[in-house]
């Protein structure tokens, strides 16, 4: 095997966070989202992350693309991110365009609203995927040819759907209990498909950067680029592919600039080139260049989250399940209202982050610090969401839409 390629894939997302939407707002104030200029509002978060992550990382990616002709990146960028960046950090959108314009940055398809609609409403899911593809085309002039579902939530159904929708590749977690002895460093074929490839995240090497990089309690801290380069080469000593998938905000936000994560990444990309035959692929290129070695079946949904790799962070407790079932129960009434603002507000509530903020499992482990949320507690997150649902019901009612 002469060539080994890294698929370096970053996920870019910001949700429309809810404000402290009170029971006293229901039926009188329909503004659910935190859009004032207060600290913690959507605008404030966008400004902060743009400064710490989007601007410096895009500059670094551009520099690396200019310097190394075979360096390639894949990005998924949610609709809710693009809406907010267009409003509050338009230069960030411009810098993403510059990356895409190099022709070596692929945009991966997904749901516009970063939702779990696949598990609740196929109609809504497909609508959100189409809406996302249209937005990506409008903003970047390209059309996605590969797909990732929210939180890499994948099962066999999704693999089949991706093939039927014409995608060349779909992304998932390379989870041991699914792969068994098999390695994530090869492309696979989703069970029951013929024309789509399944690219699986190498979570060990991905999480070394995404989660462990600045952890001083980690035996490998501080991680040097030569060490990491050696690991990457070892992982691909007889395999063709290294899938490094992570949140974009790893760079500068989850791992702050002062941890040296930018310098580390730049050095690593340089080192990777030193070995002959080492290259990069975008997601779709990897699918085109490499023949799947085996079929992989995931009857149960697997995600890239937590040690369980399931959806329990989103749907694990009764508040989360109730919130989502209330939300999707309103779908047909909302759609029949014909009220565009109402439909838009409903869709922004499908963003999975809302359910994530209601997660209590870390509370029960006594590990409150593992928990990331703009709210005081998961219970508060539920209260604001529930109040928004009640207001949505009220709005569908005044439209006279009682039943789809």
């Amino acid at each position: 095997m002469s060539q080994r390629g890294i698929v370096f894939y970053l996920h870019v997302h910001q949700p429309w966070r809810l404000r402290d939407y009170s029971v006293f707002d229901i039926a009188s104030d329909h503004h659910y989202f935190a859009n004032d200029h207060l600290d913690g509002s959507n605008e404030a978060v966008m400004q902060k992350v743009a400064q710490k992550s989007y601007r410096p990382m895009n500059a670094l990616l551009k520099k690396l693309l200019d310097k190394h002709p075979d360096f390639k990146v894949s990005l998924s960028i949610t609709g809710t991110f693009i809406e907010q960046a267009q409003q509050w950090a338009p230069d960030v959108i411009e810098s993403f365009k510059e990356l895409v314009d190099t022709g070596r940055v692929e945009i991966v398809g997904e749901t516009y609203y970063h939702s779990l609609a696949f598990f609740y409403s196929r109609d809504e899911f497909e609508h959100q995927v189409e809406k996302h593809a249209k937005l990506i085309h409008d903003v970047f002039g390209v059309t996605p040819t590969s797909f990732r579902n929210t939180e890499l939530a994948y099962n066999d159904e999704l693999g089949k759907w991706a093939e039927s929708a014409g995608y060349k590749a779909v992304l998932a977690e390379g989870w041991d209990s699914v792969l068994g002895w098999r390695s994530p460093n090869y492309p696979y074929r989703p069970a029951g498909t013929k024309a789509t490839s399944l690219l699986l995240k190498n979570y060990r090497l991905s999480d070394d950067i995404a989660f462990r990089f600045s952890n001083k309690g980690w035996s490998e801290w501080p991680l040097k680029s030569e060490t990491y380069d050696a690991w990457a080469n070892e992982a691909t000593s007889d395999a063709p592919l290294l899938n490094l998938f992570m949140d974009y905000e790893t760079f500068g936000e989850h791992q702050w600039s002062d941890t040296g994560v930018f310098e580390f990444f730049e050095e690593f990309i340089g080192r990777w080139h030193e070995r002959e035959g080492n290259t990069f692929y975008t997601v779709t290129e990897a699918a085109a260049a490499l023949e799947p070695v085996d079929e992989v079946s995931m009857p149960e949904t697997v995600t890239w989250a937590d040690s369980e790799r399931d959806l329990t962070a989103w749907l694990g407790n009764s508040m989360q399940r109730e919130a989502m079932s209330y939300l999707y129960a309103l779908e047909s009434r909302v759609m029949h209202s014909g009220d565009e603002q109402l439909i838009y507000d409903w869709r922004r509530l499908t963003t999975s982050d809302h359910a994530y903020y209601m997660c209590t499992k870390w509370f029960n482990d006594g590990d409150v610090h593992a928990y990331f949320s703009p709210y005081d507690s998961p219970y508060d997150a539920f209260i604001y969401f529930l109040n928004a649902i009640r207001d949505l019901r009220y709005r569908t009612m005044i439209h006279g839409v009682f039943d789809g």
Binding site: G366, Y379, N387
Partner: protein, 395 residues
């Protein structure tokens, strides 16, 4: 380890949380091999206590049934008299056995004079354990200047201070200018085995039970009716909640100088038919109030700890706790609000009443959480402090 512990009350002769905390702390310390002389200012039998020696400093009969509070039932003059007697008796205990005690552990301003005197006589290090400051008792004002002065004296003379929460620690730092590194936070705990049984008598609150069967949610507070507890704000928040959700009742368990004011306020807010006053209750009526309640609110303006919240958790209540209450520092599965934020409180009451998912998650999760707080850990923290101080003294 031989300990002189200076307290003011022990169950069943207690009027509040201080006696409960002292009892469990001493019991857990004794279980770890500590030899304790425990001093109380009254004479009464403590038949169940065989793990330490109890010394009485007077022949007074304990208890005042009017009040749930630890020490607000006595006039300051009566209190001063009792305290002076207490000091004299502690002197006698020490004179009888001058070299015995290695550490002196004094609880609250009530016993700090005796603690200081004991330190003088024995040379042993003094720990002052603060369960409540005069600022807490006075609802944020300076309170009684004499009490304040005695308290301050104790904080200055202590070799180490134990505060029952971070709230209390920072109160001591800010209001008394005590260096933060002199203060250790040791949160109180709960002894699940000593809690009353959860199963309840449905007859105790028959009418409320009937309302509950009809879909009403019972919100409760079990407390002393005094300004520190934020009950007027609770009433107003509850009244706001009823404008959005009708099937709510508020059960106010306890008594105190604010009672009449609260009754008047509930009428002025036009919610009098939804507010139930039980008066001071003990035993089954007390237990069944928790058992009946769906949602327990701790509305305190200033609450060093707040043991009743753990009792409510034991009875599977969903907890709404003001951010000014120390117990909130050790619990994750609760709703929090600022005591003055009546709108937020109303929001939380409506949400818990109207969503069974929220209510069940809160109840189930707090049920798993509260029992982790145990007195063994409290005793361990105390012993570490004792050992540290003794090493310091030896050096």
């Amino acid at each position: 380890m031989k300990l002189l512990m200076l307290g003011w009350e022990l169950p069943p002769h207690n009027s509040g949380g201080l006696g409960v905390a002292c009892y469990h702390m001493a019991k857990a310390l004794a279980a770890k091999g500590t030899d304790i002389d425990f001093v109380v200012p009254y004479s009464a039998g403590h038949k169940e206590i065989d793990f330490m020696t109890i010394h009485s400093t007077s022949r007074r009969i304990p208890g005042g049934k009017y009040s749930l509070g630890a020490y607000d039932h006595m006039s300051i003059d009566g209190m001063r008299k009792a305290q002076k007697q207490y000091v004299r008796h502690v002197e006698k205990i020490i004179q009888a056995n001058p070299k015995k005690h290695e550490v002196i552990h004094a609880h609250d301003w009530l016993t700090v004079e005796a603690g200081i005197r004991a330190k003088e006589l024995t040379g042993a290090p003094l720990i002052v354990h603060i369960h409540a400051t005069e600022f807490d008792r006075a609802g944020g004002t300076r309170g009684n200047p004499l009490v304040h002065e005695i308290e301050e004296q104790g904080l200055l003379m202590a070799d180490k201070i134990i505060a029952v929460s971070n709230i209390t620690k920072w109160m001591i730092v800010k209001r008394y200018q005590i260096p933060a590194n002199k203060i250790e936070v040791v949160h109180n705990a709960i002894d699940v085995s000593s809690m009353p049984e959860v199963n309840q008598d449905i007859e105790t609150y028959r009418y409320l039970r009937w309302l509950q069967d009809d879909g009403y949610t019972v919100v409760s507070a079990v407390t002393r009716f005094t300004i520190q507890k934020g009950l007027l704000q609770l009433l107003r928040g509850f009244a706001k909640a009823t404008t959005r959700y009708d099937k709510l009742v508020l059960l106010l368990v306890g008594d105190g100088e604010q009672r009449d004011e609260l009754i008047r306020a509930s009428a002025e807010l036009e919610i009098a038919d939804k507010v139930f006053f039980t008066g001071f209750v003990r035993g089954r009526k007390w237990r069944d109030a928790y058992g009946l309640s769906d949602v327990f609110v701790m509305s305190s303006i200033s609450e060093p700890f707040g043991l009743t919240a753990l009792e409510a958790a034991h009875h599977s209540n969903a907890l709404i706790i003001s951010k000014q209450s120390g117990v909130g520092e050790v619990l994750a599965n609760i709703l929090r609000y600022d005591f003055w934020d009546e709108r937020k409180l109303a929001d939380q009451i409506v949400a818990v009443a109207s969503s069974s998912a929220l209510r069940d998650e809160l109840r189930n999760n707090i049920g798993r959480e509260y029992a982790r707080l145990n007195w063994r850990d409290v005793a361990q923290s105390c012993i570490q402090l004792y050992d540290g101080l003794r090493r310091g003294v030896a050096a």
